[in-house]
């Protein structure tokens, strides 16, 4: 039987790419030793052909890992300093190692983990590989095609920029997240929650507020930012005010919905105990509403960051993430903007992650948590 037919499509494509690369040699006009060129080809061929050997999953994964990341490492170190000189061979080989990495991810996705920690590890490794390759391809394309760094800096430069500007980034985080976001987030969520309790007590208020609350969630509330800046000045209170307005309604709507989540039998039970309103609220309805409330807290964590950063586009003291983004964009320091965005992304994920952890601890009983 034809051995090519036994290969997965990624391997076949990688082989084709390698052949195209052979036709397009050299990889770079100067700067890449023949030895490394040979090694790149050797690794790519190994990676493409290894499925033929029918190795155990673990061994095959190791070979694929080396065969994908070795070439791309050599190629990237070759291109650094020779930006824009890459020819067809360079891109074909990058594509080949990417295809091998894809094969690796496929193998790992289909692997049947033998133990729980193994399974967890696999669930983390697969998306990590995906993320890493996104960055690698970005780096290779920007450097290979010689895209001006002023338009799109490669990730390595953004990393350098982050490392070199830690004090500035820290000050921005302090201003935007620890002052504006946290203050606004706590006030907005607390206000939304309190009004939800009121709306729960007074049916009239609930009937009036709910349609309005649902509608407001579709409105571009972020537009109040310039008005808040005008009212509360340039410093963090105006940003916090925007965040309060943005986080209030999701909390209100979700909490009110959550307070109706307790079943009628559970409520009747409380009635048979002649429990008062507050006892029922505290012992039954709030715990039952917890998943809804956490949903609002998580939605709000993202909204709060967006609100604070965008509000800073309308004026700040000379510190803050939004301020940095808008001024550095103006000066075409795009790497600093990316650094700031990376930090914002990290902060957003941490914020969300912490909330998700608390949620797991508090709503451990909910089927969605205990099932997964």
């Amino acid at each position: 039987m034809n051995p090519i037919a036994l290969l997965p499509w990624q391997s076949v494509a990688a082989l084709l790419a390698a052949i195209v690369a052979l036709a397009g040699l050299p990889i770079l006009p100067d700067g890449m030793a023949p030895a490394s060129t040979a090694l790149v080809f050797l690794l790519v061929l190994t990676g493409a052909l290894v499925p033929l050997l029918r190795l155990p999953t673990a061994t095959e994964s190791f070979v694929l890992f080396a065969a994908a990341h070795g070439p791309v490492y050599l190629l990237l170190s070759g291109i650094t300093g020779h930006e824009g000189q890459a020819g067809l061979a360079f891109f074909a080989l990058v594509a080949a190692s990417w295809l091998i990495a894809w094969r690796l991810v496929t193998v790992l996705s289909l692997a049947r983990p033998t133990s729980r920690p193994m399974g967890t590890l696999l669930r983390l490794v697969v998306p990590t590989l995906f993320g890493v390759w996104l960055l690698l391809l970005w780096e290779a394309i920007v450097r290979g095609a010689g895209i001006p760094f002023i338009l799109l800096p490669p990730p390595s430069l953004i990393g350098v920029r982050i490392a070199n500007s830690l004090p500035i980034l820290a000050a921005d985080v302090q201003q935007t997240i620890f002052k504006s976001v946290f203050a606004g987030y706590f006030m907005g969520c607390a206000a939304g929650f309190s009004v939800a309790i009121l709306a729960d007590r007074f049916v009239f208020l609930r009937r009036g507020l709910m349609p309005i609350g649902n509608m407001v969630s579709a409105l571009p509330i972020i537009g109040v930012a310039p008005i808040m800046v005008m009212w509360f000045g340039f410093d963090w209170p105006s940003k916090a005010a925007v965040v309060v307005i943005m986080t209030f309604f999701p909390m209100l709507v979700n909490t009110v919905a959550g307070l109706t989540a307790a079943g009628s039998m559970e409520r009747d039970l409380m009635r048979t105990y002649a429990a008062g309103y507050w006892q029922t609220l505290w012992k039954l309805r709030l715990p039952a509403a917890a998943p809804f409330i956490f949903n609002a807290l998580k939605i709000n964590s993202t909204l709060a960051l967006i609100g604070a950063i965008v509000a800073e586009f309308f004026g700040t003291p000379v510190v803050g993430m939004g301020f940095r983004i808008s001024t550095e964009v103006g000066r075409m320091n795009v790497d600093m903007v990316w650094a700031e965005i990376a930090v914002a992304a990290l902060a957003g994920s941490i914020f969300y992650g912490v909330l998700a952890l608390i949620e797991r601890a508090v709503t451990f009983w909910h089927p969605s948590v205990r099932g997964g």
């Binding site: 079943g263 039998m265 559970e266 009747d268 039970l269 409380m270 009635r271 048979t272 105990y273 002649a274 429990a275 006892q279 012992k283 039954l284 715990p287 917890a290 709503t363 451990f364 009983w365 909910h366 205990r370």
Partner: protein, 256 residues
């Protein structure tokens, strides 16, 4: 203990009124075990809910322990066991049983003591720290009975408590329930769909029929208080079961 006179209850629904209870007269004495049996929709649940002040009658009079149902509820005169266990998933079994005690403001030490006692009573010793979903359906239902027993009300209202359980578990729980009733001397109102269950458990069987829901027969059991499971093969048992079946059939023919 409970006395209903000419009790009427009509639900106003979207498509006209529903007569859930019509002219119900019933006397239940202290320490009795009363079963309610009848076809679906004949108002068994509704009657229990009226006793529990979860539903207001639209006519007639009812007293529980000589008081209005509302007052009885305020004084925590009864425990109610629903068809499903209705345990709170965020509380352990212990904490679930302690729930009514917390609401009634009983001290923590006393709570612990009572929780332990009632869990022993329903044979759940050692399961107090588990969460509801970690228990089988039968165990969950026993936990919900423990919760109803925890505050020592004289009256126990049970709405098809074993309806969702299989035959074997059900027999077992029936035996335990009888034993518990004998030991605590409570008054129990018990809704069921099963004739053998009703006959096996009760000192008094109330047969009901639907549209409008009313009492068609009240049968006083002649079975002794001591009831092993195999009493269900005795002729006396079968005779009572036959009478119940007749009563149910009479209620049916009434409709035609």
């Amino acid at each position: 203990m409970i006395s209903a006179k000419g009790l009427d209850l009509t639900f106003q629904t979207g498509d006209g009124p529903v007569h859930a209870l019509s002219n119900v007269d019933l006397e239940i004495g202290k320490g009795e075990f009363v079963s309610f049996i009848g076809p679906s929709g004949c108002g068994k649940t509704t009657f229990l809910r009226v006793i529990a002040d979860l539903e207001q009658p639209t006519g007639g009079a009812i007293t529980v322990n000589g008081m209005s149902p509302q007052e009885a509820r305020r004084r925590r005169a009864y425990g109610y066991v629903f068809q499903a266990a209705a345990l709170y998933p965020w509380r352990t079994i212990e904490k679930n049983v302690a729930l009514p005690l917390e609401i009634m403001g009983i001290s923590a030490a006393e709570q612990r003591e009572r929780v332990k006692r009632t869990l022993d009573l329903v044979n759940l010793t050692g399961f107090g720290k588990k969460f509801p979903w970690q228990l089988s359906g039968g165990m969950q239902q026993r936990a919900s009975i423990a919760r109803a027993l925890a505050f020592d009300a004289d009256l126990l209202l049970m709405d098809e408590p074993f309806g969702a359980l299989d035959e074997i578990v059900r027999d077992h729980l029936n035996e335990q329930l009888l034993e518990l009733w004998a030991r605590t001397n409570k008054t129990i109102c018990f809704v069921t769909h099963s004739i053998p269950e009703a006959v096996y458990l009760s000192t008094k069987i109330v047969v009901m029929s639907p549209r409008p829901g009313r009492v068609t027969d009240v049968i006083n059991s002649t079975l002794p208080k001591e009831r092993p499971l195999d009493i269900r093969e005795s002729t006396e048992f079968l005779a009572i079961a036959h009478r119940v079946r007749e009563g149910l059939r009479a209620g049916q023919s009434y409709e035609d």
